[in-house]
Amino acid sequence: MSSIQNLPKMDLPKIKRIIAVASGKGGVGKSTVSTNLAMALHFSGKKVGLLDADIYGPSIPLMLGIKGEVNQATTQLPLNLNGLLVMSMGFLVPKNKAIIWRGPMVHRALTQFLTQLDWGDLDYLVIDLPPGTGDAQLTLTQSVPLTAAVIVTTPQEVSLIDARKGLEMFREVNVPVLGIIENMSYFVGDDGKKYLPFKSGGGGLLARECSVPLLGEIPIDPKIAECGDDGIPIRARHPDSAVSTRFSEISNRIVEELDSSPMMPALPTLEMT
């Protein structure tokens, strides 16, 4: 009997909707998308939480300007950043310390983040998943009442092959996929021309192939990296930039999509006769 299977199923009645941000492949900008999506939802007046489920490589703290460990004796977790609630493994360990854990420990950490911290009443909890289809994904799909998932990809095939797997995983576990977000779609040069360094149309192609919407295309903008490293997401520092506008459009679309489709009912429980 594995310990994963014997840990309790989570009941999170105070969180209305839980959105997983996944990709399959690493390095496509999941954390950037998650952070800015959470920001966009937060700025639209929703109560939002952001959970960094990347236990081994948490990057949300850096992107939100939290450097190093958080003193739990003086600071309550999840951190409240002007109303946006945030939790990450990066708040609990020194910046350069590696987390060397097997799957059950990852499961336990995620379970504790979700059930033992006071998230209060949330409209949305955005979960930034690590790459792949492993322990963290399995924990969340098996024990958390996920409302939906969004898949982040870059346009080129090497990203699409893993994004397909990520999408397929959510389909297999019957979690609705709201759509694809294509990151690093293009950049506009100083000459005003649009350049396509990673090819074009991959996100749209995947969306059509899997019959899900393309939620939006995020351009490359050096300000994204600059803002991430400075700990102020672009959606907060440059709210009128093209990238921020894309994030707002995507978050509006996600809200509309979720508002217009009925919540998936829980599976029935067994009756003994």
Binding site: K9, Q142, V173, M264, A266, L267, P268, L270, E271, T273
Partner: protein, 98 residues
């Protein structure tokens, strides 16, 4: 398109009946359900050649019962059996195929 169960019941400890959203009703004998356990160790065992001289264990001498059948996410159930076995995760799709 995945069909979703609307109601599950164990009848007389002998069979599991599932009413599906498309009005189909499945009736699966408890023994068949256990034989089809998709966990790694049961799958492994099912590949071993049958041993005609195998001695039954004490838990095999009494009829098996389902103690619990808990939903896992939106896609599966975990069954806890009266002999303590509980590692099989039965996806809805798999239950529908039985």
């Amino acid at each position: 398109m995945l069909k979703i169960p609307k109601r599950l019941r164990v009848v007389d400890d002998l069979r599991l009946e599932i009413d599906w959203e498309d009005l189909v009703v499945s009736s699966i004998s408890i023994q068949r359900l256990r034989n089809a356990c998709p966990c790694a160790s049961c799958r492994e065992k099912s590949l071993e050649p049958p041993n005609p001289l195998r001695v039954l264990t004490s838990s095999e001498m009494v009829p098996l019962r389902i103690i619990k059948m808990e939903p896992i996410g939106h896609y599966a159930y975990k069954i806890t059996w009266s002999d303590g076995h509980d590692s099989g995760i039965y996806s809805i799709e798999f239950l529908r195929s039985l």
